[in-house]
Amino acid sequence: MTGALSEYLVLRATRNKFARQLRRLRNPRYALALLVGLAYFYWIFATNGGAGEGPMAATEAGPGLELLATLAVAGMAAWAWFSGSRAGALAFEPAEVNFLFTAPLARPELLRYKILKVQFQILFSAALVALIFGRGGELPWYLRLVSIWVLFATLNLHQMGGSLVHLAAAGQGRGGLRRMALPLVLFGAAALAVVVTLARALPEVQAAGEMGAMLRVFVGHFQEPAARLALLPISAVVHPTFAANATAWLAAMPWALLVLALHYAWVLRMDAAFEEAAAEAGRKKASAVAAMRAGKLGVAQRQLATRKERVRPSRLPLAATGPAWRAITWKNAVSFLRLFRPTTAGVIILGVAVVAAVGVISSGGRANPFAIVSGLALMATAMLALFGPLIVRVDLRQDLERLEVLRTYPISGRALVAGQVAAPVLVLSVIQLSALMLGVVALPLAGADAGEVRLATLGLGAALLALPLINTVTITIQNALALLFPAWSKLGRDAPQGIEAMGQGILTMLGSLLLVALALVGPLALAGVVAMPVYPALGVVGAAVAGGVAFLAGLVVEIVWAVAGLGDYYEGMDPGQAGLLH
């Protein structure tokens, strides 16, 4: 491929993509979503929502932050060597594999195309990072953007290089490794120098006690010649990003460009047979992107996994006979259990432990870790009540894509909707009640007195009844939105992307929160009407119990009405006209 052809392909594809996105804006739905997304960005970056300087521009950040960024980039560069076998940075799309790999093109030309193509994505990421972390300061924004772009482009080339070294070693054995000996030795020596410096610095950093002093000791260690030399190429690329002004930027930029150019030359001169790995990585990436756009994160994870995880057999029983809705609930619950991996639970527990430990340390040992855990558990329950229905989507939101098969099942619309809604309600309620129970159990250890524990236990009892019903209301609303306004749900390939997706997400979240609030008005009013006459005779407790029962009864009535209505709508709808059939 001549250079011109490579540029033609990249520029045409990008131009057509933008043109398609612009055409979509004729549809008010996409236009509104884009406006809301842009308004959100404006609020974040240009108004009080994002007031002040970004950390990159903050003058008081000093060399500490730059060193941390350098180490982070070093970590990412090292990861490229350890994970190079994934070949993710070399992924070619299936269409590119079909047309380019079969064309009479040399490998460097293919790599040049790949490098050119990825620059648009890198520029977009650099712009985001510049907006979030680099706003304000003396250095003009466009210069900081250029330096972040150079940094990301270098990192991307480094990842490609790491993948190519892995592939050369796999394809050419020892001979391949010998050809890569110099970069391997350089990388190994640099990694060793950084690890030794870190190991030497840590005891002194711990002894420093105060955060500012800790950072100073840390930076001091990395001023030593071995560490400076090891990090020199990375510092050279990172430094312009933290430049205080245009003069400093101009002085630093040539070195960054030199490292970039060396990386470019290094990648292009490597002769590793990457085509097979690049095609496989591209196939996986394409499937994962399609799954992500459809809101199926678990599928995307599986597509990107280096090794396919063995499927765990489902332990959920399914009786041979019984109401059909339970089969739908079973199917969705099995889906959730496959999505929710033991490692996810481990990460959550670890996160709670880290937050508790940080809380205790930052209070100088005065804070009670159980009080922190209890507080976190209560907060998690409340947050899940609000946002859980947006996260746990094992219901119609995931199944609307398969209406062609779903509608051939012998199940009434009402039973189907009930079965769909039941699964996420079950999942969310179990998680929330577990968190709540943890919070209540931790209370005595947190030093709460008997009265407080009794009150919390009563609250837990009330939550046992109320939470599942509130979850049912919120999840029914989510399913109603998906069924009545499928175009607004994350469904299929036509799902919006980027700022549009963010705007659409904000709109649907606001809409669903408004609907939840409206749904609670009736039951709350009913609770008030029932509680008020009871209060003079039975007192606060009696009125609260009567009001609570009325509130729950009101929710039940609403749920039954909504599920029946949605079920009838499902039976009568035309999925073809709703755009739900392929």
Binding site: G298, R302, A320, K331, V334, Y409, P410
Partner: protein, 241 residues
């Protein structure tokens, strides 16, 4: 038995299916053929209750699909051309799930038989993303056969299957018809339709342009005497009929 009476489906000004009527008796295999965009898929989708017809009625085993959908769907199986499977259910779990929806008696035995028959036993614990296109197609067919339906509707049933599986699939279709099922087979593979089907329905621009046994259709057009289905099809659909 499958009965379609004056079936029409319109999208605004566009009439995708126009007053289509036909009947498939128990034991018969009907081939549904037509050029791209003729309305075959829309017809099938109306017949199995995926989309509501604008006019007309479809009855499966005596049950009206619009008025009594649950009873009608208990008697039928629809195998779409594009396998649609649940991302997180294994092969065996798909079959357990569908068996439960259809209230199949002794599902474990039925599942074991179908897994063997369709050569899926080794993949019983696999998720759909671990299956080839052909394997997915087989799973869809296994799900369709699990409740022993009296009406079977196949949309391009041989897509992605290897030659051995194609032969077994043809045998399965014929065996179901011999066992008394009414079968509809929509396909562009005219030699397959000619080989398996007792009757043929040719649709073009949403309308039936020919219906009956191939000999009967040829009898209506003397110039097609002795010609194969491909010639008949092209004569009917390219002559502006």
């Amino acid at each position: 038995m499958i009965e379609v009476v004056e079936l029409s489906k319109s999208y605004g000004d566009l009439t995708a299916v126009d007053r289509l009527s036909f009947r498939v008796e128990a034991g018969q295999v009907l081939g549904l053929v037509g050029p791209n965009g003729a309305g075959k898929t829309t017809t099938l989708r109306c017949m199995v209750g995926i989309i509501p017809p604008s006019e007309g009625a479809v009855r499966v085993a005596g049950h009206d699909v619009a008025r009594n959908p649950v009873a009608a769907k208990r008697a039928l199986a629809f195998m779409p051309d594009e396998p649609q499977l649940f991302d997180y259910l294994t092969v065996e779990e798909h079959l357990r799930f569908v068996a439960r929806l259809h209230q199949v008696e002794r599902p474990a035995e039925r599942i074991a038989t179908l897994l063997d028959e369709l050569e899926l036993a080794a993949k019983r614990a696999a998720l759909p993303d671990e299956l080839s296109r052909g394997m997915k197609q087989k799973l869809v067919i296994a799900c369709g056969l699990i409740h022993d339906p009296s009406a079977l509707i196949f949309d391009e049933p041989l897509g992605g299957l290897d030659p051995g599986s194609i032969r077994r699939m043809k045998a399965t279709i014929l065996a179901r018809a011999e066992a008394g099922a009414a079968v509809i087979l929509s396909s562009h593979l005219l030699h397959l339709v000619e080989e398996l089907c007792t009757r043929v329905l040719v649709i073009h621009r949403g309308r039936a342009v020919a219906f009956g046994a191939l000999d009967e259709i040829r009898g209506q057009r003397p110039e097609l005497e002795g010609r194969g289905l491909e010639d008949v099809f092209l004569a009917l659909t390219e002559s502006g009929a």
